[in-house]
């Protein structure tokens, strides 16, 4: 347990010290969402209708920006070799690193999402659901992203390749995240979509680290 905490603490500390990744993700999210009303015109009804979709898509794209750093930095300076022969299994190492990514990227994005909802005239009743779905949905972004990050770790400028690998896998999270926010205004409520969204996140939290560790073992060779 000391080791788990030591690794998580180090990754969080590095993310805060290096700062760039969190700032870039939040800045990108802000810019993309604020461009939408400019491009689509000041039709408040239209914006309110598509607000959930825009917020979710922009959030996924913003989270993508920092995914490649999950393993790349550790690979380049040789840390990953030591972690691979360390006392923790590589699956757990991947899970801890994905968790650190979620804490430093997923949570800030989820907190920023309702603020940006104002720009898009999002229905007031949808705010709690929006925060809930982004918090519950973003672990899938980090844990699936870790698989892509492990696969593209050695690729020069692998960011684009990473996006191509990972974005299709985000489709379930996107669909149920949006439908939970949209359904919260309707008669049936957000319940079922929200539960499926949570299930998607839980499945990726179990399977993602296993797949990422398998990819890392091949890459380290």
């Amino acid at each position: 347990m000391t080791r788990v905490w030591a690794l998580l603490h180090r990754d969080l500390r590095l993310a805060v010290r290096e700062g760039g990744a969190i700032g870039t993700a939040l800045g990108f999210f802000l810019v993309v969402v604020s461009l939408m009303p400019l491009g689509l015109g000041p039709d408040l009804n239209l914006l309110a209708r598509i607000a959930a979709g825009i917020l979710w898509i922009a959030l996924l794209l913003a989270a993508l920006l920092s995914l490649n750093r999950i393993f790349e930095a550790d690979y380049e300076d040789g840390t990953l070799d030591v972690l691979a022969t360390g006392p923790l299994p590589l699956e757990l190492v991947s899970a801890i690193k994905a968790l650190a990514h979620w804490i430093t990227t997923g949570i800030p994005l989820a907190i920023l999402a309702p603020v940006l909802g104002i720009l898009l005239n999002l229905d007031l009743n949808a705010y709690p659901v929006l925060v809930g779905t982004t918090l519950v949905g973003t672990p899938a972004v980090s844990f699936l992203g870790a698989v892509g990050a492990a696969l593209t770790m050695k690729t020069r400028r692998g960011g684009l390749l990473l996006a191509l690998i990972v974005l299709p896998l985000y489709v379930p999270t996107l669909i149920f995240g949006i439908s939970a926010v949209s359904a919260s205004a309707g008669p049936s409520g957000a319940g079922s979509s929200f539960l499926i969204l949570a299930a998607v996140s839980l499945v990726t939290m179990v399977l993602g680290p296993v797949a990422a560790a398998a990819a890392l073992r091949i890459q380290i060779q």
Partner: protein, 207 residues
């Protein structure tokens, strides 16, 4: 305890680098690998650490922990130092102590390791501002912050000055004197005690 490599054949990218190599390093001994650039010293060390799977043959640590692989009982230090530049010297060393150490994290052990490599004055200094040699010493301090029976060092004296090389040699001698095993690839004569030399060029001609 004994490190045994049997009939190793190692390929790197369709080229056969090591052909039919066997050796054993007994407890308390160091093995120095020599040979020209590209002869396969790094490849051999990475194979011993388990990062490269040999085409044929096996590596095992007799008398080691049967639950662990050879790599998990070894400190493998290659050309990279595994130093995080945005952390301080002390944070780097403390992390490896907490992560790799078999026992509870120990500040005394970290301090002793930094002192051995002459970094005790630089504890609060960000690693980004260290010189290449100081970074190397910080990387090498990982050997001392957590105990492991097998040391695999790939040109450990790269960018070290003469005094620092002597500190490294002293660390390796202390390690072998307490029953550890070390395999070291180097171009410089290190003057180690209890060391045998394996010339990979001569071995290749023999094979």
């Amino acid at each position: 305890m004994q490190l045994i490599a049997e009939d190793l054949v190692i390929d790197r990218g369709s080229r056969r680098v090591i052909e039919g190599l066997s050796f054993a390093v007994r407890q308390g001994e160091a093995l120095v690998l020599t040979g020209a650039n590209g002869i396969g010293k790094t490849t051999l060390l990475r194979t011993l650490a388990g990062f490269i799977r040999p085409f044929r043959g096996s590596v095992r640590l007799d008398g080691g922990d049967p639950e662990l692989s050879v790599g998990e009982q070894a400190h493998a230090i290659g050309h990279t130092n595994a130093v995080k530049t945005s952390l301080t010297v002390l944070e780097n060393a403390s992390f490896w102590n907490a992560y790799l150490g078999p026992d509870a994290p120990s500040r005394a052990r970290v301090d002793a390791a930094l002192r051995h490599f002459g970094l005790e004055e630089l504890g609060e200094f960000p690693a980004a501002y260290l010189s290449a040699g100081q970074k190397r010493r910080l990387g090498l301090s990982r050997l001392l912050v957590a105990g492991r029976p097998l040391w695999l060092l790939d040109e450990p004296t790269a960018s070290l000055d003469a005094a620092s090389s002597e500190r490294l040699v002293a660390a390796v001698d202390a390690h072998t004197a307490t029953g550890g095993i070390a395999v070291i690839a180097t171009h410089l004569p290190l003057g180690l005690e209890r060391a045998q030399t394996l010339d990979l060029a001569a071995q290749r001609i023999a094979a």
